[in-house]
Assembly symmetry: C2
Homo-oligomer: 364 residues x 2
């Protein structure tokens, strides 16, 4: 697709919650903001990574913080545009296009809002193909793009500008600022050239997510009926296999905000056999799914929880005791199966003492 | 005095530990650095606040973090100058003179190091007349100077630039960055004009501290013998009364790093009567001295602990079980007895449910 207008936003938001694998921040507020802004400012031009000028100046933008905070700390319409403006003022350079940190969750919409208000295109692609909790897990970082200069802006208009060469150090600094500034900030970071972006992006994910959202909307209904349409969408895409891991009832879920992240565990009990349950480990996103001791899916592959009756994807912060859910798994883009990407996104990077096994090699 | 050279540094450091009221950071490392830098680059010109051009651009510089960290995270010679350079680059403006956050502790020496390397003068005066743990307690902040732009630099050269209009917000942001960046950073902040500085500075404290240090050096020996020489130095100065509160042995001292501060309590037991003890409450500095329930001195007045045998001032982070000490109290400059200053530096601002009573009105 060449343009995104306000009529695409609901599908984009729905698809993005699916790809958010439980994290990425609830898109409800960014969705309302994006619709309003695109109605007011008109459609946003999308640009394929391969069509970008090698010398174009591209800046990813999005929210950084704990998704639970995003439910209550309401963003204003112009936060993204103001953040870009502060960024341009700092670097003394015009931004040619914006891109998304992560297509999963509300961060799929933030760049559109900024692009519409500033009259610049948005890249059809993103830095994760899903959602991950840390900056060094982005394709931009893995592809060697420097994280800074980075400009962060809080709800009150206070800003912080970071400079470092290490994405791990940057992640630590920006996360601490997000915590100190109320829990959620808007950030422009990882500025890069068009040439750099081409080597370090998951391409086409904006268009794909609109299509995925449309499928979810058209087939809204029991989770049992959505698997085939989902398989049809993912098959032949950059993601590949999609399968249903489990269906049951949430019997336990606890997360706490630790160091600016939502961290915890959820347990889903089989409808018929209470002795059989699936456990989901959470750090902003669903990271690991286990039935007993057996790992049935893990990062960087996607683990997605949807409502059992409606198939609406459920973010970690919305998951509640008693909900009836289905848990799906989807393969990750090939970029995340390279050694450089697995070095920062495997289960071990999240503290689990297991190796990553691609979804299609795990027993179904 | 018109110039500070390397031969003044030992006295300045000694006097500054006294005025640091237990905090301010151990001056040992800054002292070695300052001597080396002043030997290499020559003396630093001092300028009286009243002699500053009203349009001069003055930037205070110093360390922010937990003093205990400063004992182990060693600064390099050029950290202060590099921080000023990053500041000038950000604002696109030349700095005419540097000033000190606080004359107490290592932060009395940091501006001298920067001034020597950059060939600019240092203001004879400071923003506290002692040491305080938070930015909003500085005369600059109380006098209405905006805290930002502020540029912070960590030991590895990573930087963060903050922009906000509230010193309380700034304090929260910079403190969180100091914690994230290893516990101690060098910061240039509260940039101001000469006219602003004249309204918001404790004048003459650099010269005074060299004189105080010389007195402490000349009368090194039992604490019982130093009271009279100290009274002679403080009498007629901006501080006024100096008295001995207590002598005894440290029987308990515990501080923890909480939110980037050293926070805790020390107990000093009377040599002869173990039932009689003095308690010191600590937040980087000694804040409150109590004998039983009776307050014998409190912020913003100065509480100072010295070695009983040598009269060497002892910082909180150096205070140890078994040390034999004398505890002195000194009145604070008149600036800190104004309603605006007491609104942010009274015992209540540190969580103690008592009003400030000036030292000379408390029973001796």
């Amino acid at each position: 697709m060449k343009k995104i207008d306000s009529t695409h936003i609901d599908d984009l938001a729905l698809g993005s919650v699916f790809l958010a694998t439980g994290g990425g921040g609830d898109p409800y507020l960014p969705q309302q903001i994006a619709k309003k802004v695109l109605e007011t400012y008109g459609p946003v031009q999308t640009i394929q990574p391969k069509d970008l000028d090698d010398n174009a100046y591209v800046v990813p933008i999005g929210g950084v913080g704990a998704p639970t905070v995003g439910l209550e700390l309401l963003p204003s319409l112009d936060e993204a545009a103001m953040t870009l403006e502060a960024f341009e003022e700092h670097v003394g350079k015009r931004i040619d296009a914006v891109a998304s940190f992560e297509i999963g969750g509300g961060n799929s919409l933030v760049p559109l809002v900024a692009a519409a208000m500033r009259g610049i295109p948005v890249v059809d692609g993103d830095g994760m193909g899903r959602a991950f909790p840390e900056a060094q897990m982005m394709t931009y970082a893995i592809g060697g793009v420097s994280p800074t200069p980075a400009v962060a802006r809080d709800y009150a208009g206070n800003t912080a500008i970071f400079n470092t060469t290490s994405t791990e150090v940057y992640e630590y600094h920006i996360r601490s600022f997000a915590s100190a500034a109320g829990g959620m900030v808007t950030v422009a970071e990882h500025p890069m050239s068009g040439a750099e972006l081409k080597r370090a992006v998951i391409p086409g994910t904006l268009s794909f997510t609109v299509k995925l959202g449309a499928t979810l909307r058209e087939h809204r209904g029991p989770a049992a009926d959505i698997l085939e349409p989902l398989k049809a969408v993912f098959d032949g895409s950059i993601y590949g296999e999609c399968r249903c891991l489990f269906t049951g009832k949430v019997t336990d879920k606890s997360t706490r905000i630790i160091g600016g992240y939502d961290i915890g565990v959820a347990t889903i009990e089989d409808f018929d056999d209470p002795a059989r349950s699936l456990q989901l480990d959470i750090k902003n996103e669903y990271l690991l799914a286990r039935i007993g001791e057996r790992v049935v899916a893990s990062v960087p592959d996607l683990i997605v929880t949807v409502d059992f009756e409606t198939s609406a994807p459920i973010n970690c912060e919305r998951l509640r005791f008693g909900q009836r859910v289905a848990v799906f798994a989807v393969g990750c883009p090939a970029f995340y199966r390279t050694p450089a990407a697995l070095a920062v996104t495997s289960p071990r990077n999240f503290g689990f003492d297991i190796d990553y096994v691609p979804l299609e090699r795990l027993p179904g």
